[in-house]
């Protein structure tokens, strides 16, 4: 390929990347710049792009009930992710190694809970939780998110376990290792990228959930997404706080995703190319 043609291809690629970045990032950047404006500036028309930024929205968030909601979100998302992984990973391993007749029927049954829309489960959960006193508790949220994430873990982890050669396990067993050691020390380290990718998806689901949190919490266990909506007051929306809250809600997912990016890429693309 000659120089000018190669340069032209590079320019085209750069333009494509630029356009993609603008499309992808503009909503986030718009939200972020709003979070540093006062309500009056946000509602000004045309919207000013150059302005004196203020931290007032973040300060107000810090002084209000938002930090507690943020902690509730962190706890419910982290604990439910951990619980789903603790229960789901061994289940996925067992299913991957089981060659019985009911395997497909069982796998399908596990997935059923992910097929119905959340609204179908919300009201039963609400009534049941009210009955047993789990309404407005982080424990209640953790259990709901776990029940929804469990099928995801089992379904996502099965193919990863299937890629681990059984001969490795057999060799370890022959060498005298117990089944528990084989699972923990031979198999599990080989599916780490899969666990990371699955954990991210579980965390994202629980972290971003609005509907269950809206219905099953009141004040004590209110999560960050519901707390952000709580700035939509009857007498007017607190746009600045909504933007600041929204920006903060994005932060942990961003940090978590960046931290496990290496595993995430390999985990999500595993098995995409055969041979």
């Amino acid at each position: 390929m000659s120089g000018p043609i190669r340069r032209s291809a590079s320019v085209r690629r750069l333009v494509a990347i630029g356009v993609t970045l603008i499309v992808l990032l503009s909503p986030f950047l718009w939200l972020l710049q709003m979070s540093f404006k006062s309500n009056d500036l946000i509602l000004q028309f045309p919207p000013p792009l150059i302005f004196t930024p203020t931290l007032q929205n973040y300060v107000s968030l810090w002084q209000g009930a938002f930090p507690a909601s943020f902690v509730n979100s962190l706890m419910s998302a982290s604990f439910s992710t951990a619980l789903a992984l603790i229960l789901g990973v061994p289940a996925a391993y067992a299913l991957s190694r089981w060659a019985g007749r009911g395997k497909h029927a069982l796998s399908f049954a596990i997935l059923v809970t992910r097929m119905a829309p959340p609204i179908a489960f919300t009201i039963p959960f609400f009534l049941f939780y009210r009955w047993i006193g789990l309404l407005d508790t982080v424990t209640g949220l953790v259990l709901v998110y776990t029940s929804f994430n469990l099928p995801l873990v089992i379904w996502m982890m099965q193919p990863f376990f299937e890629t681990v050669p059984q001969s490795l396990e057999e060799a370890a067993l022959v060498d005298g290792a117990s089944s528990r050691i084989v699972f923990l020390e031979i198999v599990l380290p080989m599916v780490t990228p899969g666990i990371a990718a699955t954990a991210i998806l579980c965390f994202l689901y629980a972290w971003n959930d609005f509907f269950f949190a809206l219905i099953l919490t009141r004040i004590n266990a209110r999560t960050a997404p519901v707390a952000v909506v709580n700035f939509m007051n009857y007498e007017g929306w607190e746009w600045g706080k909504i933007a600041a809250g929204g920006s903060l809600v994005m932060a942990p997912v961003l940090i978590f995703s960046l931290a496990v990016r290496r595993y995430l890429v390999s985990g999500l693309t595993a098995g995409a190319v055969k041979g």
Binding site: D40, L43, Q44, F45, R130, I215, R218, Y234, E235
Partner: protein, 458 residues
Amino acid sequence: MTKKNSGHKSAAVSRRKLLQAGAATLGATLGATAFPMPVIAQAKPFAGVTLRGASFQHRFFTLLQNYIPEFEAQTGMKVDLQLSAFPVYNQQANLELSSGGSAFDFVNVTFILAARWVAAGLLANLDEFTGDPNLTPAEWKPKDFVEGAQVPYRDTKGATYGYSWEGGAMVMGLSRMDLMEKKGLKIPKTFAELQEVCAAINGTDGVTGLVSFQLHHWCLPPYIQGFGGNIFRNPPTDIMPALNSPEAIQAIEFYANLLKNYAPKGVLTYTEDQARQALLTGRSNIFIHSSAWITPILMSGDSKVKDTARVVRMPAGPVRDFPAANSQGLGIPKNAKNKKAAWEFIKWALSPEISMRLVKEHGHSSVCRRSVIESEEYRKLNTVNGQDLGALYLEVLGLPAKGENYMAYRTVKEFPIVGDVLNKAFEQVATRQLPAQAAMNAAQEQAIANMRRAGTAL
């Protein structure tokens, strides 16, 4: 020595304490004269009760929370008031009430949900409390609540399921009277004049003729009724939708033309704040909405149009003069555990005394007690640039009681279904997707189908 000193000190403290106590008693007596305490049934009859209540966040409750310790001290009960955002509260309260829950002892009866909650029997009949002199002394005066604000909280037989704490009277705000005067324009009093003023002002000095917001089923009915139409044929008895009547079609065309020709671009998606901001900054000349959203052009520190603004009655239609009115109320869930304690709270929170304190101490004007709104103190605080806002507020809020109950469409539990359809139809007309006749014919069919699907026999 030490003992003596100590004794001396103790006597001094004791005297100080006595003086403080005396001053506190005197202060309380004087305070009681200035702002008499609301009548409470007995001394500490509810000691140990924790009263749970919920509402959406509003200045009324923020202010009320300052006084709640006084109520707790008088009654012995503890008030746990949960305040959430408007959409969050409505969702949670709707679910709690409709599933027969008893988590709350008192709730806000939201205007848009009132008809549904009352018709479904989710709230306690408050006439049982007001009708019992042991529970409600005569001084509380249930009839003192402005009749228009009470409309949403009554069932078809006239029983009361809520008392209003906030009223909204539909009025017209004009931000640029200076521009209007330059052009020799007068305040519009009819729909035709409204259109003329909008046309004359639109584009002058970068100002649009008017502004509105996305809740069309609130903004539009006064136009439909003004042209002689209605949402239902004859609510609350005949609830057949009347969306494709010639009058309704004429109204929707008129209102859509106003927005298409004289409002800012994107007005169909404007929130109330955006519209208010356009009025407050003088970017739009006219905004017709509840008084609470319009009066800030005269009373808010943010207003840039204080000297050039006016707040007046909305224009009358060629057939009728029906500005809308809304209110928010307090009620008791049917399954509440502490109904009497809840009534004690409602009685206290909406007493003439607390209402007057809110007006005097905080300038909170959207109370619903006629005696308070008509008081000299209220008039003084709410007369701005020579405009008696209280009189205007009372006049509009009192209209449903003066004959034809034109707000009856809001007492029908099917209104939200028809209101949603109306919103969509209006957007189709305003965005020129469909002509008014076709949109409203389709809306009529859709409204009937949706109502039947929801179980309404038509």
